[in-house]
Symmetry: C2
Subunit: 155 residues, 2 copies
DNA sequence: ATGCCTGCAAAAAATTTGCAAATGC
DNA sequence: GCATTTGCAAATTTTTTGCAGGCAT
């Protein structure tokens, strides 16, 4: 795959498999994955790839702009039993930038883009004498559509 | 101090000292502190308080709404040598909510509030069938005022 | 060939937990 | 006095690093 060579990385099995995993976001896995998630998926696919390698590949891909890393603050967004914003979540870095809306009831992550918010962010930074380089915006909210799997009754 | 009793916590030395530390944000410390920061400040004040206790107190204060926790993604925002968004930063939960602008050159954290952004966030959540409960917005930017201590030359 | 990569194991870093002793009310 | 709280140490969790061997080019 050219993708990898283009960024100065040799085409190796771990890298290929990790890339595939993110690009084939159909086979029963979400778009946002933690290092551990990736590792488990590879294991399930009988790939003998170490967790340390997964971390290294994820870091390389992030630096190359192929993946982007998020830190969600809600415990629900991470695995069940995961406390706080312990783990990083990776996702394919699409052409279109977006922010996240995390469901506090089931942990599902939706994406959104709001041009007005983006513009305002730049304005805020500039007004304070800064040039905006990046930002992270996560909304934590409750589903009002009564469709959350793990939704508490009556909430 | 009533603050503590009001939230169902006994008035103990560790709690009092931690609260004091955040309320007296004058004596050579920043407004945003990590658990380790708090611990070091207490040590410097000859308080014999364990790090585990600091973590417990911070968690209690956060739940009580006295402090709020942030996870900044830039390495500069955390201590020198701190990688990524490893540690949580706590600050006094003011009456006025605000978001953060983190300087990518020196790690300094400025605060801002933008009503338009806040309103838009609610609108976005509602439009997706959610009720916004909380959010985290951090801007990462470069200082254009040439006043950053650790500012790379010519940037 | 040769230098980039990997797996494994150990190290780090941040935070949590178990438990007996200490403390507030 | 008694439940709450603390300090210490050990355990967890997440991520990073050292190193000897392996693989892509």
């Amino acid at each position: 795959m050219q993708n990898l060579k283009n960024i100065g990385l040799k085409t190796t099995t771990p890298r290929l498999k990790v890339l595939e995993l993110f690009q084939n976001q159909n086979a029963g896995h979400e778009r946002h994955l933690s290092a551990e998630d990736v590792y488990r998926h590879l294991m399930a696919d009988n790939q003998d790839i170490g967790l340390a390698t997964v971390y290294r590949v994820l870091a390389q891909f992030e630096q190359a702009g192929i993946l982007s890393r998020n830190h969600f603050a809600s415990s629900e967004a991470n695995g069940p039993g995961a406390g706080g914003a312990g783990r990083a979540m990776y996702e394919l870095a699409d052409a279109q930038h977006h922010d996240h809306l995390v469901c506090l009831d089931c942990g599902k992550v939706e994406e959104f883009f709001d041009a007005a918010i983006e513009a305002k962010q730049h304005a805020v930074a500039k007004s304070k004498g800064f040039e905006l380089a990046d930002h992270a915006l996560s909304l934590y909210a409750h589903c009002t559509k009564k469709v959350c799997p793990s939704r508490p009754v009556g909430v």
